[in-house]
């Protein structure tokens, strides 16, 4: 639509009303999308009295970052009162390798399934794709047994394995849809030039994959970073990821709730993924065009 500049009598009131309508709807939705963020942020900046006494949507009286500080390095999570700080590193140590593995594996699988098709490769793709749709609650128990057999229980490696496997379905889908649009002739040319399977992948395809890599990485990073279920089921204590720590910090069975600290903790937890979306969101939309939208 962006290039259509159909002749219309200039300054027509119709056009003016139309623009107004468009803008009001857009802004209304901005408000709707921002409301929870506003509530969370403003609550994190209030002190407890203000929260108990005032309205949820009221602005904080003064900017008060003590809750943030508390959540970061003082709040008690179980017997350790270290705040979220140590768990943040746990999540980083888990998310980065898991994102890398699942992305690389997904890229290789997508590449193989589109450019080196063989008998049954379509069925393999279908089987992998179906993996997107398995509710994770279903796999906890057998996964626990398997991890026990592999001696990976309660380690970050176990989590990396789990996330890599369940991420593979989506990354494969992304890369496959992207590589389908790249002409086979490129692979043929490289084959004649003497390049093999891996050379073609690393020298020819990978360098032109950034748009879809961005999509896969953002998607995977968000999924893995925000995962609670696997984290809580397959790790304990000091090796737990951030989401589990957040849960432990926020959930009290019998105790006083410090809402400001809870909200600050939630924001700290969400900060990396938010940052990724704000910084790379544009590439995400662009990459979607290239990858997951077909037709």
């Amino acid at each position: 639509m962006s290039n259509l500049d159909i002749v219309r009598p200039e300054n027509s009131s119709f056009q003016w009303v139309g623009r107004l309508l468009i803008w009001s709807i857009l802004l209304l939705f901005c408000f709707w999308f921002l409301m929870p963020a506003y509530v969370v942020i403003s609550t994190s900046l209030k002190n407890l009295e203000e929260i108990r006494g005032g309205s949820l949507l009221a602005l904080p009286h003064e900017l008060n970052f003590t809750a943030w500080q508390h959540a970061w390095n003082q709040a008690c999570i179980g017997v350790q009162c270290t705040g979220l700080q140590p768990y943040f590193m746990n999540s980083v140590m888990m998310a980065i390798p898991a994102v890398l593995f699942s992305t690389i594996l997904g890229a290789l699988t997508g590449y193989t399934l589109t450019k080196w098709r063989f008998k049954g490769s379509n069925i393999i793709f279908a089987l992998i794709l179906f993996g997107c749709f398995v509710p994770f609650q279903v796999v906890i128990l057998p996964m626990a047994q398997t991890l026990g057999i592999l001696r990976l229980t309660n380690t970050v490696y176990g989590l990396i394995l789990v996330h890599s496997v369940y991420g593979l379905a989506f990354t494969t889908l992304f890369f496959r849809n992207y590589y389908v649009t790249i002409p086979d002739e490129l692979i043929r040319a490289a084959t004649i030039d003497g390049a093999g399977f891996f050379t073609i992948f690393f020298r020819i395809l990978l360098p032109i994959s950034p748009p879809i890599i961005v999509v896969a990485v953002i998607w995977q990073f968000t999924q893995i970073w925000n995962d609670f279920l696997f984290g809580v089921s397959f790790t304990t204590g000091g090796s737990q990821p951030l989401m589990v720590a957040l849960n432990n910090l926020v959930n009290t069975t019998t105790g006083v709730k410090q809402y400001n600290v809870d909200m600050a903790a939630a924001l700290i937890t969400a900060a990396p993924t938010l940052l990724v979306y704000i910084v790379a969101g544009r590439y995400f939309v662009r990459g979607l065009t290239a990858g997951s939208v077909k037709g």
Partner: protein
Amino acid sequence: EPVAEVLHYWTSGGEAKAIKELQQAFQKRGGKWIDAPVAGGGGDAQAAVLRSRVLAGDPPAAVQIKGPNIAEWAEAGALGDLSDVANAQGWDDILPQAIKNVVKYDGHYVAVPVNVHRVDWIWANPEVLAKVGAEVPKTWDEFNATADKLKEAGIVPLAYGGQPWQDATVFETVVLGIGGIDFYKKAMVDLDEDALGSDTMIKVFDQMRKMRDYIDPDYPGRDWNLATAMVMRGEAAMQIMGDWAKGEFAAAGKKPGVDYICAPTPSDGGYILNSDSFAMFNVSGEDKKEGQDLLAELILGKEFQETFNLYKGSIPARMDVPMDKFDSCAIKSMEDMTSAAKNDTLVGSVAHEIAQAGAVRGAFLDVVTAHFNSDMSSEEATKKLIDAIRLAK
């Protein structure tokens, strides 16, 4: 070096402080404490973790579980034997029978009780009650009368959190109060279908329906501590909740007997008990076994029983701990428990998984909460209760 990985869901507030005491005591005795807290929903999340750890063949040493679940785990052969420590410490002599029933399986100890909570408490704001010239009610009729008066005065009579376990907490106090101790045992413990379908049970549900008029409309999903805050602030007059509610009052600097009143819910001498305990799982390795023994010894030690329960708001699980440091509510609780134990009116809580394990407890919760949150008739509720329990057994 004794090692113990402790899986628990005490992650904050007084509970966290309490368990920290245990950790420090354990470390003082040279132990290595591996903390594994999993918060959420009174052990919902922890239940998943425990199962996956057991299936992975790597269970934690000590796990916070309670009630019949202990027996079920023991039956599955997952629990270790604490007979040595128990004999050396003479546990048989110091624990009330109701608790022994829970922590022993097949004649030997498999778990260590930490504390005793009383479930059937009313927490009341005396100032508010005074406004309508009322006292804490001693019978359910009185309760209804007081509530009506409060309501007329524009005060919410009952602070209420609408979560299934809270519904069930109120429900079981009503069962105990209206049905009496024998009815409670028949219906709630033995799951006798005649009792479950009796007119008494219908009356219980009628009372539950009445209670709905005594609460504010925003109750669904409310956390119990927010309900407690309503009492504290004078927005509501009473709350029916276990003695962990005391922690909230204490945190706000309120004094028992002055700023708030604790009184048992109306019943004739009954006592609904909730007890936390740590079950000791089968672990391999000398150090871990040593850790378990040490932990067991410490948990039931007088010193820890005192400090822990002071923080937690509950009373010691062993009956020989001096109560002088405890507040009036705790002392009352201890007295009532001792007498209830003597009169055999001490019963386990269903809502808190002492009298019944997961499936049956769940059936109770489902029906009670469904009834409370809808317009279901009491007759239908009793029928559903029988069906659900039959299905869960």
